[in-house]
Symmetry: C2
Subunit: 348 residues, 2 copies
């Protein structure tokens, strides 16, 4: 990755901050009429109609959120955008603009930052997003990426976390646990590589897991699907920290309980086989793994026929009265209290 | 500062991220009807009327932008907000919301983060700003603060950098160079302290300089003043990197030249005396010092009577044709080409 790029290194300080920004953002084209002014002034200027606006931000720190020894910078750029867009989609909104701030140390040549921006560019292109500003500065040690995403939603369509009701169904998009297992595979390969740099690993059997870790996709498509199906969730959140943590957010904020059925949790076959190989419990991974960037939502029971049989959506439980608590119902029929053991960056 | 606070340290990891956010943001009250939903969901929800919206973001890194050995955390929090609001005011807009993301290492106890948020709270209170979201994570080493500010402006009132015209007057608010000299005083005292920890410095003669460094104020008042005076600048920028760098931004983006008169540059008496003491050229400090957070703008000559004699506004030059270049006219009447030697964080 970065280490392979010695052939043509350009020092970033040669360019200076303003030329660097120009250089990195010159290929980004404005796509939204709401973007009145993008990069290049004190602030971006957005013109908004009667819709409500969404603003979300995430801060990614080298050594905490990513390890550049197995995360290519292009993928990192892409993923950093996805993490933010995912939050806009989790409000049932449409993402339209981002700002990108980075802090970089001297060890990064221009080519490394270009790679990062290539990933950001691809994400913007694929998800129809305008890059409208940011900040570029130096860091003492590692790479820091801070992205703010802006989106919009019709007032009547916004979906919060705190509006789930007893008897609602608990639904998840896609499948869970793969991103975490992808990270385990990459970390194991890193250790193998450190012992034997000539090893040629065959990672094809983990391809889905690695892709979910390195190139996650925010579920813009699911927001559209729900709209097409004429289903408005009663509550929604994206799964960044792990299923249990997100369910507990919905339950706590909505003042409800839930039953989550272990047997219903959607798992990819690669997740099941990797869990066997790593001697991990697949339910634990799905509950606590994190970084899946799927959507978790609740719907009224009367909407069930609209989603029934849809291969992208899985009903994994239902909402109950607050007094009943948030529970996992195991395959053996046992009820276990759900606890958030999700990825907590403050505990590292 | 942090080191003095050993008496009651609370580990942040005891609280966890979500309780930490709740804890830190519980005193922030929503002030704007446009803030539909603040902290606590995937994204903030803002409802905007027909106005245009402004979005700006800044990333502050420990060891690059601030040194905690002389920057109290409360002041840092305040200043981090000011840096962002200043960009909104530089568009002739009104700031209304911010998001605050921080990355903190284990060496910071809860009390330190609380101090930081006290400063953010005071800034929000004083400038009528809603805190609407953010991200809290751990860092491997230093403190990282990323703030995004959102504001609004009537379409006809927005002021860009690229719209200055030949013969416009070049105007600056307040005075320049004090924040940089405040930093020099604080750095000198830090060195004295390292040699003799019992020294009791009398910094009263530098009080204005230190205040400008530690507690800068964004010029919301100047945006109001210009509105009251019925002056709409033809171009505007805030002075974060130093006067020369900002003038060159206006000239380059507006495709104009300028004459800046050395004798007109507004300097506080403390700046003049500190420059003598430090054997620094006061013009160089004003041109390149940075962090003044004053506003630099251009106005049509016909607006001159409206600002004439106003103690907050100083005409420091005028815009010329692009072919004449951007020049400093010295006290001796010599023309020198302006170069940006402003604070450039990428060159550190």
């Amino acid at each position: 990755m970065i280490e392979d790029k010695n052939q043509s290194r350009t020092s970033i300080s040669e360019l200076g901050e303003f030329k660097l920004i120009d250089h990195l953002t010159q290929n980004f084209k404005i796509k939204h009429t709401s973007t009145v002014k993008g990069v290049g002034d004190d602030a971006a200027v957005l013109a908004i109609n009667a819709k409500q606006q969404l603003v979300t931000t995430d801060l990614l720190i080298e050594g905490v959120h990513f390890d550049l020894s197995y995360m290519p910078l292009k993928h990192l750029g892409y993923k950093a955008v996805m993490v933010n867009l995912s939050d806009v989609y989790a409000m049932n909104g449409k993402a339209s603009q981002i700002t990108v701030s980075i802090a970089i140390s001297n060890r990064f040549p221009l080519e490394a930052v270009e790679e990062l921006y290539e990933g950001i560019y691809l994400a913007c292109k694929g998800y129809n997003i305008d890059l409208v500003g940011g900040d570029t500065t130096s860091s003492v040690t590692g790479l820091v990426i801070s992205i703010t995403a802006i989106g919009e939603v019709e007032k009547e369509n916004v979906v919060y976390r705190n509006t789930a009701k007893p008897n609602d169904l608990l639904v998840v998009t896609g499948d869970l646990g793969a991103a975490y297992l992808g990270l385990q595979v990459l970390e194991r390969e890193k250790q193998v590589f450190e012992v034997n740099p000539n090893s040629q690993p065959d990672l094809s059997e983990y391809s889905y897991l690695i892709e979910r870790q390195l190139k996650p996709e925010a579920r813009k498509d699911m927001v559209k699907l729900l709209s097409d199906l004429e289903v408005k969730p009663t509550a929604m959140i994206d799964i960044s920290d792990g299923l249990s943590s997100e369910i507990l957010h919905i339950c706590t904020q909505s003042k409800v309980g839930c039953n989550l059925y272990e047997e219903k949790i959607p798992l990819d076959p690669q997740v099941i086989s990797a869990c066997e190989e790593f001697e991990l419990n697949s339910t634990t991974i799905a509950l606590s793994g994190g970084e899946d960037y799927e959507l978790l939502f609740t719907i009224s029971q009367e909407d069930f026929p609209k989603i029934k049989g849809n291969p992208h959506l899985t009903v994994i439980g239902h909402i109950t009265d607050e007094s009943l608590g948030a529970n996992l119902v195991t395959r053996a029929g046992q009820q276990i209290k759900l606890t958030a053991q999700g990825w907590n960056s403050l505990k590292q």
